[in-house]
Amino acid sequence: MKPEDLDRIFARAGAEHHVEQQVEPELLRRISAAILPGLRPVRPMPSDRVIVAGLLLLTAAVGIAGASILGMYGIRKLSGFEAASIFVVVGLFAWLAASQSAAEMVPGSRRLVNPAVLVCTGILTLMAVFAALFGGNAGSYAMDGFVQQGVGCLRAGLMHALPAAGGTWLILRRGMAVNRTAAGIAAGTLAGLAGVTMLSLHCPNLRAIHVMAWHVAVVPVSAAAGALLARALTFRERSAARRS
């Protein structure tokens, strides 16, 4: 069967269907009556570039401000090459997450990458970069220190992801997410990267295992929190709709 054969069959079936199943004029009148009275002009959402730039500025600002307050101990221990490698990868990951967050808030936008794939790929890339840069810094590392220091870093990273998430919500709130879970993952990932930025600038512990486990963990935890929050909001709205 050629595509044209199928086109012909669909055109015929569609034409018959059209005659049989036309929209009732009364229904169109009802829709018009619900929409047209009091119709007011609206301001279209800003372009993706503007939104992405705003989100990236916010992420960088939260990360840098947090590290400035806590102390820039980490960046002082990094060589120029190490700092450049880390921030190029974090920046690229943040740009993808910001682009995806912006796209998720406009129905019918071109999707760069599935947000879940973005999180997994980004995490693996970050871990690979940290392993390559700090793989030689093994040293002796007692488990107590590993967990104690690690939990502190994870907590600090998540504490910085929170204001970043709030700011991200403020920037994206005018949009409409047709897939809220995906939007939550993308926004949560971006907020988590604000935490990673802060930790990269602040934390002087450059052992590969610490950075790979605890610094990177901020991203999946934050992305999962974003997804859960989005689902909770959807559930709440549906419950409210059912009650009404």
Partner: protein, 185 residues
């Protein structure tokens, strides 16, 4: 099929508060949206409700349309969202009522049609939901692969793959019904 440039102008005017443009959009796009819902195996009454809900949502979210962008992917992404919501609701209701099967309303009378040609619901009803959706957008709404990809938040490759699988299934179905010759390449 309405060309996008025209729809884009109407959409931009609708955003500016032009009632005539909004009325024109409702008149022009409602039939294809209604058909999109009907071929997804919902009853006519449900399709009417979904159409109404979709327009209300479009109205609330009209500021998210960006002038100059194609209208149909934006519109169908919203319609699809409404349909998925409806499906979830219907599924929950069915579970609560422990109903094993929900039969769609009988199609409208065919007015004494004697031609044994396939009807749209029967053709598309044989396809899985995701393929049916893609074929409806491509063949019934006349959207491009890129537009369907945007409306369904997927890649062009994925849309192509679903369309190809749907063609294969439809080919078998039409051959079984004797509507296609076996020697058709």
């Amino acid at each position: 099929m309405h060309r996008d440039a025209d729809l884009e102008q109407l959409m931009a005017a609708y955003q500016q508060g032009d009632s005539a443009a909004a009325a024109a959009l409702i008149q022009r796009l409602s039939p294809q949206l209604h058909r999109f819902f009907l071929v997804q195996m919902v009853s006519r009454r449900d399709a009417d409700d979904l159409l109404q809900d979709t327009w209300l949502r479009i109205h609330q979210a009209r500021h998210t349309y960006r002038p100059g962008e194609p209208v149909l992917p934006w519109l169908y992404a919203i319609a699809r969202h409404i349909r998925v919501d409806h499906y979830r609701k219907a599924h929950r209701t069915a579970l609560r009522e422990q109903q094993m099967e929900v039969l769609p309303e009988a199609p409208a009378a065919t007015g004494g049609r004697t031609d044994p040609g396939p009807d749209l619901e029967a053709l598309l009803g044989a396809l899985p939901e995701s393929q049916r959706e893609v074929i409806t957008m491509l063949k019934v709404s006349g959207m491009s692969l890129e537009e369907v990809a945007r409306a369904t938040s997927s890649s062009v490759g994925s849309v192509k793959q679903k369309a190809h699988r749907a063609y294969e299934k439809l080919r078998g179905l039409l051959q079984d019904r004797g509507l296609l010759r076996d020697d058709t390449p």
